[in-house]
Symmetry: C2
Subunit: 321 residues, 2 copies
């Protein structure tokens, strides 16, 4: 799982930061899932080296233009390039109507490969490897955060070791593979976990924007490996944050802290903190780190890999009783 | 009058060419008139150093997305930047509906400063200095070319010389300033033209895209100082040009020749001629130059100044009879 930031400015593009978009690359299935798609996202994809032909799903947080105005161009270019992959787009009420209106007046025909889903808080999608859910946040217009959860993989069963222990063939193996404790006919108790490699814990990626501090974000971000949270404003501009229903650095850090995430990456910065201004992005970083040390600031084309992880020692182990 | 190309690729952006947009800067009034506005035009404006706060009019040729998908972002950014200048947008049927639909679903409010005009062939706008007309071209969907005409300015009247000739004060001066021949009471005939500097001929700028070769383009481009004409395809790809109703290089050159323009600048090139392909842009240039030598190829950020010009010697002079 690899995250690439394609736009990290709020509202308007600046010379160095485009408006919102984040690509989540899933190398194991050669797919990209895109989160938001501000104007110029297809240009940023081109510069990043990511292949837009790999885009399989697009999740839209809310309908403000700095998160959506790149959708039509991207869809058109995916079609023109002849790649013709199916694309599922998820977003709030109005997204479907917007896309169909824009297509109509632009003489575009989506065909059948584009599916548009209107989201509500809850589970959106699930397959063998992943599930995605969303949660309503708190913005001037309906905005949803998204949570991608990779399912846990059980550790590899050591068949040789089982055979060496003289465990007779049969349904016992199934139980052992599940990590259960079984009693053999000769009275020996065998713990399946001793025969399995360490399970691999699925990764959790959470994307929260645009929102002022809210419980929904904390809930959505529980135990995430990476939480991307907007931090439009510095702490001292909290008035503006409340007025415009955006977050300050300290709100983002508090969400990370309360949700017990491993890494916070802040994004969606107001252009008012660009170099040359009294408060700058490094100040924003320090403010957040004072509350949540594992904080990074996103910048355009920053790529962050979420490593696979094994079960932790202190994690409660499931044992059959 | 200064032209800056902001996008010169057809259909999709490439790494070096964005989709269509051309800025016409009118330094005498600190205004920019924009022709087409593909996705990323506001980014290109930012890079070009042109001030989007100076944009006063936007002319849209047709509703294909590579000419329009940058409109909403640009309008939003002009508003957010607080510049709040009034903007008049001209374009075909459907433009108004498109913009209002996009605004509605994006929770945007244009307010009163945005005026959207639906164009039909003929005069669109006129003031003391300029007039703008448009003409239907020949594309898969309704597309209009635009012609900007600067009005002629009469030469400066030499008052000192008139007084030295002993011309008595009175309405005679008004006639002389118009370049008329007047007879003084003492019988002398004075030609007003001899007392006026050379008139300045207004400049003519014509923008034709998207279109296959058509008489409308020839008519619109009559005597233009600069004709910008699309040349999506090389001559050998004329089949595709006819099928998609785009122009080849030779069509663009023929329009320039038949219209008697001074300078042809070709744009809207298919990405198929990018470096590394069998036919390249230099080939397209040679094809056009064989027919119309005063041909240039546009590239992103290319700036072309249209100089003021004085009346030509062989031009018919208006003399009062
Ligand atoms: Zn927003
Ligand atoms: Zn077109």
């Amino acid at each position: 799982m690899e995250i690439t930031f394609l736009g990290t400015s709020s509202g308007v593009p600046t010379r160095s930061r485009n408006v919102s978009s984040v690509a989540l690359r899933l190398p194991q299935r050669a797919e990209i899932w895109l989160f938001d798609c501000g104007e110029g996202t297809q240009h940023q994809l081109q510069k990043s080296g990511l292949k837009s032909s790999q885009i399989r799903r697009i999740f839209v947080t809310h309908m403000h233009g700095d998160h959506t105005f790149g959708l039509m161009g991207l869809i058109a270019s995916c079609g023109l390039a002849g790649s013709g992959q199916p694309i599922d787009i998820y977003g709030p009420k109005g997204l479907k109507e917007y896309l169909f209106a824009a297509a109509k007046y632009s003489y575009m025909n989506f065909g059948s490969r584009l599916k548009i889903h209107t989201v509500e808080s809850g589970l959106l999608y699930e397959d063998k490897e992943f599930s995605i859910s969303c949660q309503l946040l708190k913005h001037r217009v309906p905005a949803h955060g998204y949570r991608v959860v990779e399912k846990d993989r059980s550790g590899m069963f050591n068949l040789e070791k089982a055979q060496a222990l003289g465990i007779p063939p049969g349904p016992i193996y199934g139980k052992l593979k599940q990590g259960e404790v079984v009693t053999l006919e000769d009275g020996r108790k065998i713990n399946g976990k001793d025969l399995c490699g360490q399970p691999e814990i699925g990764r959790k990626f959470v994307y929260c924007t645009d929102t002022v501090f809210c419980d929904g974000a904390v809930e959505l971000a529980q135990d995430a490996d990476v939480l991307i949270h907007e931090a439009t404003f510095a702490h001292q501009d909290a008035d503006m944050a409340f007025e415009k229903m955006h977050s300050t650095t300290t709100m983002a850090a508090q969400v990370a802290l309360l949700a017990g995430v491993k890494q916070l990456i802040m994004t969606h910065f107001s252009p008012r903190y660009a170099p040359g201004n009294p408060i700058q992005l490094d100040d924003l970083k320090q403010e957040a780190k004072a509350i949540f040390p594992q904080t990074k600031l996103a910048y355009d084309f920053y790529t962050h890999e979420i490593p696979r992880r094994r079960e932790e020692k202190n994690k409660k182990v499931k044992v059959a009783t």
